[in-house]
């Protein structure tokens, strides 16, 4: 007979250790949520390429290493290098909240500028306050059964960001949520995993812009050992409310960024979700939107810039549950070297969702003969009076266009740059917030300038 513990998954062992502490500090319902998530995770563990949703994206290495979370002592901020400031040049109010390795760092955050009524807080604080409405929100949109990494996040999250925008709040404000990875080597720590959890709740007719940024701190992770960034964001968008959400991933080194963003939209509500990804070893973004009230809509807009042997995978899912909703989806990938892209776009139109209006497009620009793109639109339509289109292209720079530009005296390199920017232009131009357009432009320049 072997000891029961020998056969336990390392994650389960770790969970048992942590469970005692959580029971003492957090509300009972959160502990129940964590236990259910852990049970769901153990059903399948870390997915393998046999799993349909993980066919092209191999994360098995995460099963072979021991993931170590931060120990719960928040950083003073002094050991962290310069924090990237994406919001430079923004002319609106900026509320900044910074987490390092999944833990809130007060010294790097500035929450004082939040306009009255709008709350930006570390999730841990809100949970300690035992606010009742949180129980109905947290875990209500992100499914642990079908998404192993959502389960992992739900079981292990230590902290995160809670943004609450009260009904009618239309302050011109940008909430800048910064998640840094120090990890590997920084200050002698062995931290190599973070599971930050974000919860955004918008009341009726509320409007807010949230910029979620994932990056390395100045110090790391710079080593060759893997690091798992495993964030989950839930957004609950009330009637007639609008969330403009930017997710910027600028990971480095051997980071596995495996993330999920889940939104539920009430009647006449709207989500603009812009995703810009660069760097790291592997970036997987699951993005699921439920359109739950008539008149609701979403625009999912993404740009991936991959180099080296990076893999960037977007799995999106739009659920049209009710009539008269519109969804738009535009993803572009620029792939160099031996990088790979994956796009899987599901659109479900439920039987009642008449007058659904959906457009999906996914285009990849392959700049190297060894780069690879896998794209799969997946439309399941159970209503009969709908308008849904999809299109996917994979191509190289057009030699005729290149010759045309060069024949006018434009240098070959400049001509290539113009065409790459042109390829991404409709996605970049759709980003209403200027600093993001600037960032996207410089990412494209970087990939060409190597």
């Amino acid at each position: 007979m072997t000891n029961a513990q020998d056969t336990m998954h390392p994650f389960a062992l770790r969970f048992e250790e942590l469970e005692k502490g959580w029971g003492a500090t957090g509300p009972e319902w959160v502990l129940r949520l964590r236990r259910a998530a852990m049970a769901a995770f153990q059903e399948g563990g870390i997915p393998t390429p046999k799993h349909e949703e993980w066919k092209y994206t191999d994360v098995r290495e995460l099963d072979r290493i021991t993931l170590t979370h931060a120990d719960g002592t928040p950083s003073t901020g002094a050991d962290i290098g310069p924090v990237p400031d994406l919001t430079t040049g923004a002319d609106e109010t900026v509320v900044r909240i910074v987490l390092v390795d999944g833990l809130f760092v007060p010294a790097l955050s500035d929450l004082t500028s939040a306009p009255s009524g709008l709350r930006v807080q570390p999730l841990s604080v809100v949970l300690r306050e035992q606010r009742a409405e949180l129980e109905s929100h947290l875990g209500s949109v992100a499914p642990v059964e079908s998404h192993p990494f959502v389960a992992l996040n739900t079981a292990f999250f230590q902290d995160g960001v809670h943004v609450f925008v009260p009904a009618g709040c239309k302050e011109r404000v940008t909430v800048h949520v910064v998640h840094l990875a120090s990890g590997g080597g920084a200050a002698g720590t062995t931290v190599n995993a973070a599971h930050p959890r974000n919860l955004y709740v918008l009341g009726e007719s509320a409007v807010v812009r949230v910029v979620e940024e994932y990056a390395a701190s100045g110090a790391g992770p710079h080593t060759d050992s893997p690091y798992l960034t495993n964030p989950v964001t839930e957004a609950i968008i009330g009637a007639n409310a609008r969330l403009e959400l930017y997710k910027v991933v600028r990971e480095s080194g051997q980071v596995f960024h495996v993330a999920g963003t889940f939104a539920r939209i009430d009647r006449d509500g709207h989500l603009d979700a812009h995703n810009v990804s660069q760097g790291g070893r592997l970036i997987r973004n699951d993005l699921r939107v439920e359109l739950n009230g008539p008149g609701g809509g979403c625009v999912l807009n993404g740009l991936n810039v991959a180099t080296g042997r990076q893999l960037m995978d977007d799995h999106t899912e739009i659920v049209h549950a009710v009539p008269h909703c519109a969804s738009r989806e535009y993803y572009r990938s620029v792939l160099s070297d031996e990088s790979q892209g994956v796009f899987n776009g599901k659109v479900f139109v439920r039987p009642d969702a008449q007058k659904t209006d959906g457009i999906q497009s996914n285009n990849a620009l392959v700049l190297s003969p060894k780069a690879l793109m896998n794209t799969k639109p997946q439309l399941e339509i159970y209503a009969d009076d709908v308008k849904c289109t999809h299109g996917a292209t994979i191509g190289q720079l057009d030699p005729d266009s290149l010759f045309y530009l060069r024949s006018r005296g434009i240098e070959a390199e400049t001509a290539r740059r113009m065409l790459v920017h042109a390829f991404a232009s409709d996605v970049v131009d759709r980003m209403a917030w200027e600093p993001m357009r600037v960032l996207a432009g410089s990412m494209l320049d970087e990939t060409l300038g190597r």
């Binding site: 005729d400 006018r408 434009i410 042109a422």
Partner: protein, 254 residues
């Protein structure tokens, strides 16, 4: 200014130009006519530097330089301009941005300072008038959604802004209505000068009513088989190309 000697060119293994020779002097307008498949467009594209064509023999000297050794942009900097038979649509690249980048790369090459937005706009507005082009075309992506006439006007407009030394027009007249044809010809004629040479490739004599050439050459099966003055174009109009074909066949059988 342009000296082509015994030029042989292949595409996909087929020989298209078979020993073509041509001299174009500054200030001259040369028309190249000929039936479909004779090699007219190949000649235009080879001079501009399109890579799909393989030069297997002969030489092209332009202003004392070996043109065939140069990249397409280097040829442009030297003063070669090709008005495309099928102008390329480039979504996402704004017409103004494109043309300003092109002009400034030329100016940089000539050691001139780059034009700022105000001076650039002043320059292009004048040129637009000659071609009866709407200023709104400047704000649109390069050639995207342009009508056939708008595309050809845009080619001549670019030529007017870039002021080349050798302008090659590849069937710029094909498919144009009479108004567009007149505008395109007016744009070309406005550029005629003692320093500038023109190579006008056309299938139809009609264009030459408006752009009167100094020389007309007939290209047939990859060679120039007949050269003459502007009256040769009228003769071709009256008799058709079969007359040339018969003459060429007769010459071959001798």
């Amino acid at each position: 200014m342009l000296e082509i000697k015994n030029l042989h060119v292949q595409a996909d293994g087929n020989e298209i130009l078979k020993g073509l020779s041509l001299h174009v002097g500054a200030g001259e307008v040369h028309a190249i006519m000929g039936p479909n498949g004779s090699g007219k467009s190949t000649l235009a594209n080879v001079l501009a530097g399109r890579e799909e064509y393989e030069v297997t023999g002969g030489s092209v000297d332009f202003l004392g330089k070996d043109l065939l050794e140069l990249e397409p942009e280097e040829r442009a900097h030297l003063g070669v301009f090709l008005a495309f038979q099928y102008p390329v649509e480039i979504p996402g690249v704004n017409n103004t941005y494109f043309l300003k980048a092109a002009l400034n790369s030329m100016r940089k090459e000539r050691g001139e300072s780059e034009l700022d937005a105000v001076d650039f706009l002043k320059l292009v507005r004048e040129k637009l008038k000659v071609l009866h082009m709407e200023e709104s075309l400047l704000g649109r992506p390069v050639n995207e959604g342009f009508s056939g006439g708008e595309k050809k006007r845009n080619e001549v407009f670019q030529m007017a802004v870039l002021e080349p030394k050798l302008a090659i027009l590849d069937e710029t007249d094909s498919g144009l209505d009479i108004d567009a044809l007149k505008d395109v010809a007016a744009g070309v004629n406005a550029l005629r000068s003692p320093e500038r040479g023109f190579l006008v490739v056309t299938h139809y004599q009609r264009l030459l009513d408006y752009i009167v050439p100094d020389f007309v050459h007939v290209l047939y099966k990859g060679q120039i088989v007949k050269s003459g003055g502007k009256e040769l174009a009228l003769e071709l109009e009256a008799k058709g190309y079969s007359w040339i074909e018969e003459q060429a066949l007769a010459a071959e059988s001798k």
